[in-house]
Subunit: 435 residues, 4 copies
């Protein structure tokens, strides 16, 4: 490589983008981006303009020689790109709000990325992401598609199975876990190495090395007594006394929707009739952020962005791109094809595990030990749900969609599955051409 | 073989036994049992005497040269047996009643063989069945252990993994499905062949051949419109319009606890506060049966036994034993070691599929097609639960027990799992020496 | 089924056909063939006429109501057939002679079905068999293709992978082994059941049941001291003292080309410069047979046919077809898709193992135990050779062909492989349109 | 870690040791060895003294604060070691000479590490290495066992399966391949990254990245025209025109014994009756080296050591130990447990692939693509041989030993296998207590 880099950010008008710009500026020395294109859809053109202007001020302030542009022409953005980043939200926050509310109508968890809510989001996103892949195949066949769009695991699996694009799915949870562990253990983040295994938003940290020593048991014990790995967007229930010690692993925060299903559902139902769903909260934060962004004096990432829930999002993205560009062969936890690493899942499934990152992309590393049954059972049923969802998302097969929701542990009954599915299809008609 | 046969029936005092005796008598020509020993525990000695006397009258009436005896000495019953049948109920109906009620306290399905109820029954049964295996290993190492005791899949897996005894797990559902299909399609039962796959009480009929022709779609369509495969002991809800057509398979009745979880739970809660649980109903039927059995004039299986819920139980047992004895190499659906037949499950898992039955035992046959994702997802998570349960049942490991219930789709939350587990351990103390 | 049966025999002019006709006549009661068409190619029309006339006399003598016809129009033969039997020899005995001689030039075993000779035969046969499949797909899509053509394993795998035809590969070795064992043990053949596992012409009998009892060790010991399983067309070397006891299995006769490679090669080289190759011997036998067949008085299978080497060929064929037609669900050893039965081979490989035969075809049965390493090592390398050969046969890929021969244990060096391959391609030009 | 390091070198009297000492000295800054113990057996005490004195002079000259000692007490050397290096030669060069000659008697390749020669060496080495493991388990249970002893793959597998010691098998071929490629392509070695896959001395380089770009085809083409990857101890035949292009991979030099079996055998037979076997040549070189080493003026690694055949041996060792010590997480190609990386081999097989090296040891990385059939066929049969050999080496089972040699492609006939095996057992009696 070592040629000038072009990066296209699809969904460039996102409120997260300043985070990313900040990362690109800070790491310019090792990742000298020449051309950076922010692209969005017509409905997002106002936001794109606001973000573009803020990004321009940030870059100018830093004095980085990055050529920034914004456009509504996705093909032009993709043409000759080296990296295409996707952070799209098909249907925008209105759709997210519906995703959270529909399942709750039927007594099921309503969440953006997990369960029936994530399912709806996947159905809307798959056609768009595959369109983007078709364009990459035509216009920049050697580009890497770095996908942040949730549900990141399902989207990665859809691309792996239905496109010829080199892709890596990215989530900020792995870095978040490392950072929180460093804080908890009072060591420098670079001293901490974690082995996390599973699929996106359904994974377990099985091993924590600090300074080359295995400190897993100690960290689990500490978490068992503390609040666990809290993330901004997930209610902060404790795991329950002794549960982490019993599990002997550190589950990711999204596993609270499974392990603490009853409490989480109760919370959501209370929020629904009270302060509103998470989408409502996010909308408010976003409105405030965009007001800040629009300030022509603002030339840096505002502190309030941290509240948004995407901590370390920028680190994750820049770390990944820089390691590919510089052929670093370091270890990062990303979403890739399984290829035998998790023996309990199919070879062609997308999984989230430690990978070696080089110019050739991300290759998963064998785990110290296979995941225990307490994890594989859940993993397998949720992966079966994901496979059915990918199939439904690509083909518009109603039966696959119905069966997908039927077996999902957060739905788990065919009658509920059908009611939820029919509502989803009805309310998302405009975004589901495949059905 | 072709030597005189000795059969030992452990739990010989069961109300089902006259069914079995009836079968042995009717099929005496092909299965010439010389010695038949009914054995039970001290607490069941009254019932054993009643059953023994009835069986004696039945055999005498038939004029079959079977030497019948009853005993409380299990070792003597097992010594030199060719077939050891286990139809035990550790803790008797009192325990079953608790198994059904504890999960309901926490809003979970309470069922004898499935979910947390079946889990409790497994924990009680595993130590006893392994004791029996130790005796077989010592006293009749070439005997076949034919197990009907529920949860038959888990018990079979425990024996396969922790004993050196040749074992086959048996359920009446496969024959029941064949018989009901024959009735529905108005053909002779011997015209019907079914391919059923999965694990005990969690399986799907994927293919129905009538007179050598594949009639699967037609039968599924008929069931979609009818009541489905009803069995006496499971509430008779419809599958829901279009569900079977969507699934393209015929689920066994126990899958209603999954697919219709909400309705089934509602039913159980209503029964609990009304007519009582299934255990209560069974107790009443049993009391009536034993009153009939005690009648010194009765010398045949009374018609009321059919109400008990074990239809075709005798056929299943005698078919299996006769095929082994006569080295028939016919096809029957039983519980055996997987050995690669179901690609989605471990090789050492107990599965329920069509097998060739010969003097060498039961060997599973490759399926026409692997099960679809709609089935494998559920299968895998429930099998993970079963593996953890076997481990907990053998070792008394609290953590395995907790994780087992946590991932079971009919429990599905660690907080509920813990509460249920603690109640189970408390209420079954006398039967759980391993904990 | 139970409708009138039409059978098409492709390669109907073969000297083996009277064997088959004899079987059809003897078993007419259970397999009432209405229409029997013998088809062959132009070059074989004389033989076809001779065979057709003899078959006509045999059928007439038996008084069986089978409508017999001969034709050169393969499409007409296949149209509406229920069973298509293929017993073709592309390139006729001339090609076989070359197959046996080319490898010997380079110091490698030259054999009709195994090693480089079988490889050449596979390359010639694959295009023809796939043409036949295309016609079956069009003209009788529900027909079973029963293939005897060697190398039967490779041909079956080519059809399984590259056609949509229901196919079963058939060899007379399994019945032969059973019959020889019956003779050796002085019991009736129907008392003997064998478990044979591997791939066609590279398999091991792992278990011998006589009257329901495991007599494996005894039979192996007897063979160790006797001549082993001799077949007419393989030189009769002893296995070597202690070898079978060491192996604890009974290898098929073709394994002598591996285990006794040095002696077998020595034999072949001597024959080559002496009495001629096996093809020369067969040619002589065939000439004599056709002289007999042409006798208008002959109305039965002549005794000399037994010398030809295809003992039990007719039994194997009629057993298989009759079990499919009558939906018998009995056990026969045939070539089918692996589907997890042999854990050491890919799921889509053709293997030869005990199968349940029904109207639905042949489904393999789980083995009592997986094959030991002493067998799997050879199996895997030869199966890799077979996979490469199928690929080369279908696509004409020179590199696959070269690598196939390079790794075959009876060639085993790239330099020899290239020399042999180039000779094969040169000498078979007329039959290798794919290259 | 970061504590003072103790390294024990078993077989410290080897002529290779100065190479290793040289590496330890040069890399002292990153690998600060505090205590270095060279240990050998009584028969090697003279050599050990010579090497110890030379090493002392080298360390003194460098001024490195390494405490060096020599001992015949293996337990003391192992006690509290952090790294135990094994470079032993059970039976010394006399045994190697026999290993090379016995197979040649029967027309089979006679080579130190491959085929029947390597087999004999494995049988002698396994009992000793497992004794060492027992001592490590007792005296330094956290130590890493770094094994160079050939056949390194078999020895590693024996330790993985029969000991609880953390072990990594090491060979200089991977670095050698990288270095030769760098030279061939005229780039710096650190620019070259290779993906090599298979098992020790039977592997293929499937992918060559130079400066982050895939240059595989180009490098293969160059090798096809040049001498290929020559190593000092393997005769330098060309691969044959077009062979590498056909294979699309770069085979390791030891694969010449397979692909060019006929030529290599011819060479060996000529050498045997002429200049002597490789063991004879090595003995001469060793004698010369020890004369040099004994010179009290010599205080550095003499240039002649390069002729010995172990190029880059020191780099490989120090790279590995330094990465473990410093928890580097860089990528090196070593021998480890498969764990799903090579889908064609068992999970518990030792394989040689790129691994991430950290304080936790070596973990294999998923391959860009699974190996093609041209490689897997050979790999599987040789791995089956290795598994049987490990079993024979551990248990002394004659049958496993016989079957192992029978299926090895460089023997391949049971009669030859028996003759060779009996000679090996006879001539190595003193070193084979297990038989």
């Amino acid at each position: 490589m070592k040629k000038p880099i072009k990066v296209a950010v699809i969904g460039g008008g996102s409120s997260y983008t300043p985070e990313l710009i900040d990362g690109f500026i800070r790491r310019y020395a090792e990742l000298p981006i020449q051309e950076l294109v922010l692209v969005d859809i017509e409905e997002g053109s106002d936001k794109l303009r606001t973000i573009g202007e803020l990004a321009g001020r940030m870059i100018q302030k830093a004095g980085a020689p990055i050529q920034l542009s914004t456009t509504l022409d996705r093909r032009e953005a993709i043409r000759n790109a080296d990296f295409v980043l996707t952070q799209i939200r098909v249907g925008m926050l209105e759709a997210r709000s519906r995703d959270e509310k529909i399942p709750l109508k039927y007594g099921c968890i309503g969440q953006e990325t997990t369960g029936a809510g994530g399912f709806a989001k996947a159905l809307r996103t798959i056609p768009v992401i595959l369109d983007i892949c078709r364009e990459i195949e035509e216009l920049s066949p050697n580009a890497f598609l770095i996908n942040f769009t949730n549900p990141a695991g399902i989207i990665t699996e859809a691309v792996l199975k239905h496109a010829k694009v080199k892709t890596i799915g990215l989530c900020n949870l792995p870095i978040h876990t490392r950072m929180q562990t460093a804080k908890l253990m009072e060591v420098a983040p670079e001293e901490v190495q974690i082995e996390m295994a599973g699929i996106n938003h359904l994974n377990w940290t099985t091993r924590i090395m600090i300074g080359g020593e295995d400190r897993t048991k100690e960290v689990i014990a500490l978490h068992d007594r503390s609040d666990g790995l809290a993330v901004k967007n997930i209610p902060d229930h404790k795991w329950g006394e002794g549960f982490l010690a019993s599990l002997q692993m550190l589950p990711c925060s999204y596993l609270k929707y499974y392990y603490l299903k009853d409490k989480m559902l109760q919370d959501q139902l209370e929020d629904l009739s009270g302060k509103g769903t998470r989408a409502d909260a996010v909308r408010k934060v976003e409105d405030e952020l965009f007001q800040l962004y629009a300030d022509p004096e603002l030339d840096h990432k505002p502190a309030q962005l941290e509240q948004r829930g995407g901590a370390y999002y920028s680190e994750a993205a820049v770390d990944l791109i820089a390691s590919i560009y510089n052929n670093k062969r370091d270890v990062q936890i990303v979403n890739v094809r399984n290829d035998g690493i998790l023996a309990s899942l199919p070879d062609d499934a997308a999984i989230e595990v430690p990978c070696v990152i080089s110019a050739a992309g991300a290759k998963p590393i064998a785990l110290t030990e296979q995941l225990p049954l307490a994890a594989t059972g859940l993993l397998q049923v949720v992966k079966a749900y994901e496979q059915l969802t990918v199939h439904a998302g690509v083909t518009g097969c109603y039966d696959s969609a119905w069966q997908a929701l039927t077996i999902h542990p957060l739905v788990g009954a065919s009658s509920l599955a059908k009611a939820i599915l029919d509502d989803i299809l009805q309310d998302n008609k405009a975004y589901l051409p495949q059905f």
